[in-house]
Amino acid sequence: MKRLTLLASVATLAAATLAAATAATAPAALAAEVAPGDTLAEDQTFSYSILDQFPTLDPQLNEEVQGSHVISQLFEGLTRQDGDGNVIPAGATQWTSEDNTVWTFTLRDDAKWSNGDPVTAADYVYAWRRAADPATASPYSWYVELSSIAGAAEVISGAAAPDTLGVEAVDDHTLKVTLTQPLPFFPAVVTYATFMPTHEATVEAFGPDWTKPGNIVSNGAYTLEELAVNEFFRLAKNPQYWDAENVQITEITGYIINDRNQSVTRWEAGEFTMMDDLPAGTYPDLLAQYPDETFSTPRLCSYFYAINVTESGNPALQDVNVRRALSYMLDRNVIVDQVLKGGQLPAYNFAHVQTAGFEPPEIDYASWSQQERMEKARELMAQAGYGPDNPLELDLIYNTSDDHKALATVAAQMWKPLGVNITLSNYEWQSYIDIRGEQNFDLARSGWCGDYNEASTFLDLLTTTHGSNDGKYSNAEVDALMKASRTMENPNEAYTEVEQIVADEMAIIPVYHYTQNFLLDDDIRGWPMNNVENNWYIQDIYRVVTE
């Protein structure tokens, strides 16, 4: 988990789409609709591999991707996403809002817990208070505050009791939420695990052991049957689920395989259905070998090198010419096509180009040829007073990983002709966060995944006060534009302007935009290929008979 470069955490949808959808009604059925002409296979099991054991299945404690995938099968929140990333009704059938500030959700009346108890608004209230309660000590409690729920900050810091949180069960099937500010995309915010309901009697009866097989009571399409730490886990279809008749996959098995190359071999041996996060560089070969089962889809993350512009960094980096020269010199096509080889997109701006509603600005150096960029880079570097005769010594740090190492080595080679001598240092993840956060570097490998599918989730990072702005880039104009964008009719104008400034000043060195590379058996239908946040619900897929 900690090895992940980024935390793709929150699942949300573009604010614009949602503002229009303040009132929604449930379609007849949510789960897998078998397409005409498809014949269901007899074997309706699904299995996949994950890299690391997830730390918890407690929705309120979860803070990472692998766990949230499993929790999304076990539990159902008010809303969830469809295959394209749109927010659709789930535990709630409809919702309305007053000024996007007071939200009222109507819960479906046929939802049940796996033990047969009805799911009520009180279950949501209990879970949400629990997420914020300091006694729960959830590492993700800040998400409740980020969601602007009234009283969240006070509850989390212990200044107010959990029952002062702005969430209320009006009756068994009506949940009212009060926010501190208008949030048009609130229904998208509640798709995430933190806001899924939990069964109070179970949590109180078993304490920290409540998520163990045999104890756990959940309300999603599946129930937890077995879990062996660092080995495997197994889920079975939940007969109590309100839409159980449309759930085709009867069993899900997850294998924890710490070695991605072993994982590929075992997938090839037919041991499981799906494997994501392919080892760097293996995509083309696998695609050639399994053209119908190897996929590359956009993923809402960007890879970049942070530049330390504070006094602890090399003073040369405060010179915009040096920063530009470094960025221009980097041949992103080589990195993408010859190092990563997974269909990644060369990046000349920060926000992922596939972000919903985002129109990537026309960055000047993106349109130049690499030859032009390199000439310009030499020119700028000479202006700054550096060159092979007067080399610039820079320290590039990255967290221990073969992929980051390969990329850093290639980058260092590319910068060498400029007279830049790079010292590579790698640190294991927990130390790395500290070192980078304390600006003990010149250049630092970084990655950022969208918390929600909207460009501000990226661009906010470059504002002065952002906690993850590790290079400490600061520009008053960027801060003002990002602040203004929150209330703008078309925030994209602000985003374009910010990207232009960031490119002119070379606040960071963008490297590439991510793709999700994965293997999936060719008899699976309904996989959400267009969900850029990589959220999936196994209840939406099914196996067919193939020739």
Binding site: A228, I433, G467
Partner: protein
Amino acid sequence: MIAFILRRLMVAVPVLLLLVVVTFVLMYAAPGSPFATERGVPPFVLANLEREYGLDRPFAVQIWTYVSRIVTQFDFGPSFVYRDQDVNDLIRQGFPVTLTYGFWAFLLAVLVGGTLGIVAAIRHNSWLDYLAVGISVGAQVLPNFVLAPILVLVFTLWLGWLPGGGWRGGQAEYIVLPVIALGTSYMASIARIARASMLEVLSSNFIRTARAKGLPGWRIVLHHALKPALLPIVSYLGPAFVGMITGSVVIDIAFSTGGIGQFFVASALNRDYGVMMGITVLFGALTIFFNLLVDVAYAWIDPKIRY
């Protein structure tokens, strides 16, 4: 002998306590925190987490609480990363797995390695000797992180005989590959030690005397040569067994066994203080115990040794 064992056990207690204290101090001295994340944890959230785990209390209080909880309740506390499990849970689940494949790998290494070495020594400079030496050198130079993927490739992907990983409560087909991958290099070491030591014993005076008396070859080897030849092997076996269990991180990762070895590395990387301490104490205790066992075995094998 009993007095010796008791004395050794009594010394083991302060040694273990010292191990706990030193590990605890080192752990806290290391940079990083179990709660650090990419986007930074807000201070008040961090405060809640530190209170939950008692990290807000003075260092001396923390270490005292920790040690006394182990001594009085045999409770190693919670895991800082796996919120659904405590350290005792993790050890209870993972240790039997490691112990099982460790035991079989040990048996494989001792039986095959010992036989190879002794046969090679008896048939010194024959084709059997060359074959045995060849096998053991080959096995020695093949580290388990190379061997493991090869085994999976051959037996899982190409032949389809065995699963490429997992444990499933220790079913036979899941045990085979981990045992081979873990046991091979130990087998090679044992073969070499056994061969060298057997050769030495076979060329000693009392064996020449036995031969001169006209005893049959097998009797000489079994009754006279074997026991003294075992001495160097036994001194190797104690640390080797602990090494098999602690060094099983590669096996756990390559075969997803769910064994405890991988926590050895993962807990340090994740700064999972609870698990790190628990594993260190467990392996520390095992090392002490097996060293004691080796010393006792010495006395039994070599009458010259007295305690």
